[in-house]
């Protein structure tokens, strides 16, 4: 994949876009988790959410930089 994407004539790093995509995905997953009350099985929900976001972002970023 390209490392930069032209967006209305401005070069935007693909990573930035991926960051937003990952944030949306993590948010949706979090809402799903909360909907079925899964967070009660975890010790530290905030840390879990951060880690899930990091995993998603990392996995998506690997498609660009590899």
């Amino acid at each position: 994949m390209y490392r930069e994407i032209a967006f209305h004539g401005v070069y935007v790093p693909t990573m930035t876009l991926i960051f937003f995509v990952a944030a949306v995905l993590a948010w949706a997953l979090g809402a799903l988790f909360n909907g079925v009350d899964l967070y009660r099985f975890f010790w530290h929900p905030a840390l879990l959410r951060l880690s899930v976001f990091t995993c998603i972002f990392g996995a998506l970023a690997l498609t660009v930089y590899r």
Partner: protein
């Protein structure tokens, strides 16, 4: 965290170590907070330098401002800070595009913008106010430094947004993941304890072991707690998905709690009056019912109410409520044997009507509270939000004050062409903004100025004597950490907030090295002098221009409070109960804060508030009863009792807009006329209090009458004249 708790428990078992446990509870959490501030600010500083942002100081200042002991606050503040920064920067770019060559117009536009934002800040509660403050001063911070290079404003705005975003992200991450202390936990605590306090209050009130002073202070506490819980609720929905699922129920719980406190005040007022008036026979007839309730509630007094306890409470109130009609009939027949007067009978009915409603609402509250244990629940559906109510005058006063300060200082700057004028104007905009939503802007500005002075002394010393000697990032952290720790410590002490804010923010903006470090002693010292001068002007403005604790403003607030009656009479009936309750509580809470240090004024305000709530609540009940009347000729709109109630509404409106002897007499006559009409109307149903509408209406009308005649009410001077004439 678990280990810490266990350690605490073990220490608690040792008698001589109690002090240590207390220390862990208070200072230990502060220590954790300070540690988190340090971690977050160093992380931000390092990243900002590493990413070569032009002003790492902005990023680190963001961390100082955003960091709070509880992670929910940090999240809420961050989100509003981000929005405020975006709006402010966008406005600045626009303003610069319009008036780049006209400094006068440019500064005037800026003053108007700051005026609008400060008004918004004073008008809103919680962190939305903070968003407004930021929109105001970000515009100033972006624009003024580059006022002579208009072409740079766009990049300045873009960098600023990036720096602030970095600061926000680091602060949020650290505060949410590193030894978190959630706002939802503290909210749960407040919620659970509040009911315990209330139960204690009710038991003491029923048994008459509470004096007027304790009664008033208890009421003030419940009012403040209702408003604070709303603020906490609006914060926790940012923080905790668990709480977000319960948002509707929390809203409902607060609204129901306000309803039961008002109901209890009404009941208490009636009982006290009966006991003073010497209505022995009636008081004796009511007593058993009350005593039973006090016994049922005693178990909950002073303990926090967990959802399991709430279930028990629901069960208790259920049985009590089921037995009440039978009990009333029994007491009534006993009372009838001694041939009571018409007034006594009305007192008796009113007291039991209030008691029945109180228990009913208590039951509903208990059900909502116990439903908090479930992840989803039918009681979640609730569309009666907390309606804050503020006085526009106070908000506009804050706006005008800041616009004036900005105009004055920028004129001074243009006339003197002082090189540090930009710093002065900038800082004054920041200070008026930050003090706009404090109840005492003068003291706040003065504290910020003192903090800045201290920051200046430390900053000059560090920048010119220490920084040249050190090398590398770790040493820089080591050098600035004492300042950060001291400032953050002050920031979380309510009485010291201003000092901490001034110290952190202005140490951050001026003495943290930028990515291109400048060695300019005269410039820095000049800037600091300009800053302190700008702040002192703000403090003076806070004391002189429309200070919020001036008598006229308190007068306006009192007037607003009385106007709530008009609201109860005229506003649409949907969700009226909770918006009436929350609005009047919000008003009183503000007025009470502004009148701090004037106990006479506070007392008067509270009395008005209690009267307005009792009468307003009764009026709302009257309107509700009339809205669901069965179709029958004796309930028709044209019936004399309905016309009399409408006339009473008009008379009460006039009385509360302008309390005079004449209006009072007319209001009282209207209420008595309505009671008379209601009593003379024939009804198709048996006249039991659970079936007869007119008897309930009679009770509410009678209650309004007793409230008007209450010797504790602010109308008592007129009431005593009426009674002496009789």
């Amino acid at each position: 965290m678990m280990a810490l708790l266990q350690l605490k428990r073990r220490l608690a078992s040792l008698e001589p170590r109690r002090n240590l446990v207390e220390w862990i509870n208070n200072e230990g959490f502060t220590a954790i907070y300070l540690f988190k501030v340090l971690v977050a600010s160093f992380l931000t500083l390092w990243l900002a330098m590493r990413l070569e942002l032009p002003q790492p100081s902005t990023a680190i200042t963001t961390v100082f401002i955003v960091m709070q002991p509880q992670s929910g606050h940090v999240l809420a503040k961050s989100i509003y800070r981000f929005i405020g920064t975006l709006v402010g920067s966008a406005f600045m770019v626009f303003l610069m595009a319009m008036f780049a060559q006209q400094t006068d117009l440019f500064l005037a536009g800026l003053a108007i913008w700051v005026c609008i934002c400060s008004t918004g800040a004073a008008r809103n509660r919680n962190f939305r106010a903070y968003g407004f403050v930021l929109a105001g001063y970000t515009a100033v911070m972006v624009g003024l430094p580059v006022v002579s290079h208009p072409d740079k404003v766009f990049m300045a705005a873009a960098w600023r947004v990036l720096e602030i975003t970095l600061g926000i992200i680091c602060a949020t991450l650290v505060s949410a993941t590193l030894l978190p202390r959630t706002a939802s936990a503290s909210m749960r605590n407040t919620l659970y304890q509040r009911f315990g306090n209330f139960a204690e209050f009710v038991v003491a009130g029923i048994r008459s072991t509470i004096d007027q002073k304790a009664f008033e202070s208890g009421n003030v506490r419940f009012i403040a707690e209702a408003v604070n819980l709303e603020v906490l609720r609006s914060i926790t929905i940012f923080e905790d998905p668990h709480m977000r699922r319960r948002n509707g129920r929390l809203n409902r719980l607060n609204s129901e709690f306000m309803a039961i406190t008002t109901r209890f005040n009404a009941l208490h007022q009636l009982i006290e009056r009966l006991r003073h008036r010497g209505g022995e026979s009636v008081a004796l007839a009511i007593d058993p019912g009350l005593r039973e309730l006090a016994d049922a509630l005693e178990q909950f007094a002073g303990h926090s109410l967990t959802p399991a306890d709430a279930e028990l409470l629901a069960l208790r109130t259920q049985t009590y409520k089921a037995g009440l009609p039978e009990h009333v009939r029994h007491q009534r027949s006993a009372l009838m044997q001694i041939n009571p007067g018409a007034n006594d009978l009305l007192d008796f009915h009113t007291a039991y009507e209030l008691l029945y409603r109180f228990v009913d609402e208590l039951h509903s509250y208990a059900l909502t509270h116990s439903s908090l244990a479930d992840h989803s629940h039918a009681r979640e559906k609730w569309d009666e939000p907390f309606m804050p109510q503020t006085n526009w005058m106070a908000a506009i006063a804050a706006g005008l004050r800041s616009a004036f300060v900005l105009l004055f200082l920028s004129t001074f700057w243009i006339l003197t062409t002082w090189p540090s004028g930009a710093a002065m104007t900038l800082v004054s905009a920041l200070t008026v903004g930050l003090s706009a939503f404090s109840t005492n802007p003068k003291r706040m500005s003065f504290q910020i100025a003192c903090g800045t002075l201290l920051a200046a002394a430390i900053g000059v010393f560090l920048v010119f004597f220490v920084y040249p000697l050190i090398d590398g990032f770790p040493l820089l952290c080591l050098v600035i950490s004492p300042v950060i720790v001291l400032g953050s410590y002050w920031l979380v002490r309510p009485q010291w907030t201003g000092y901490g804010l001034g110290m952190l923010v202005f140490f951050g903006t001026s003495s943290i090295p930028d990515n291109m470090t400048l060695y300019n002693p005269y410039g820095l010292i000049n800037d600091y002098i300009a800053m302190v001068f700008g702040m002192l002007v703000c403090a003076a403005a806070g004391a002189i221009i429309l200070p919020p604790n001036s008598p006229w403003l308190l007068h306006r607030l009192e007037h607003d409070l009385r106007r709530r009656i008009t609201f109860a009479i005229n506003a649409p009936l949907k969700a009226l109960g909770s918006s009436f309750e929350s609005g009047s509580r919000d008003l009183l809470n503000q007025a009470y804060g502004l009148a701090a240090g004037k106990p006479m004024v506070q007392r008067k305000l509270l009395r008005w508030m209690l009267l307005v709530q009792e009468i307003g609540h009764a009026i709302i009940e009257l309107r509700r009863e009339q809205a669901v009347l069965p179709i029958h000729p004796s309930y028709a709109e044209s019936q004399p009792w309905r016309q009399a109630i409408r006339a009473m509404g008009r008379a009460l409106t006039r009385l509360f807009l302008k309390p005079t002897q004449g209006h009072f007499n007319r209001g009282l006559a209207a209420v008595e006329h309505a009671i008379d009409c209601a009593q003379r109307t024939e009804e198709p149903f048996a006249s039991h209090f659970d079936t007869s509408v007119l008897r309930r209406i009679g009770s509410y009308l009678h209650f309004i009458r007793t409230s008007l005649l209450d010797p504790q009410s602010p109308l008592s001077e007129y009431a005593s004249l009426v009674e002496s004439k009789e």
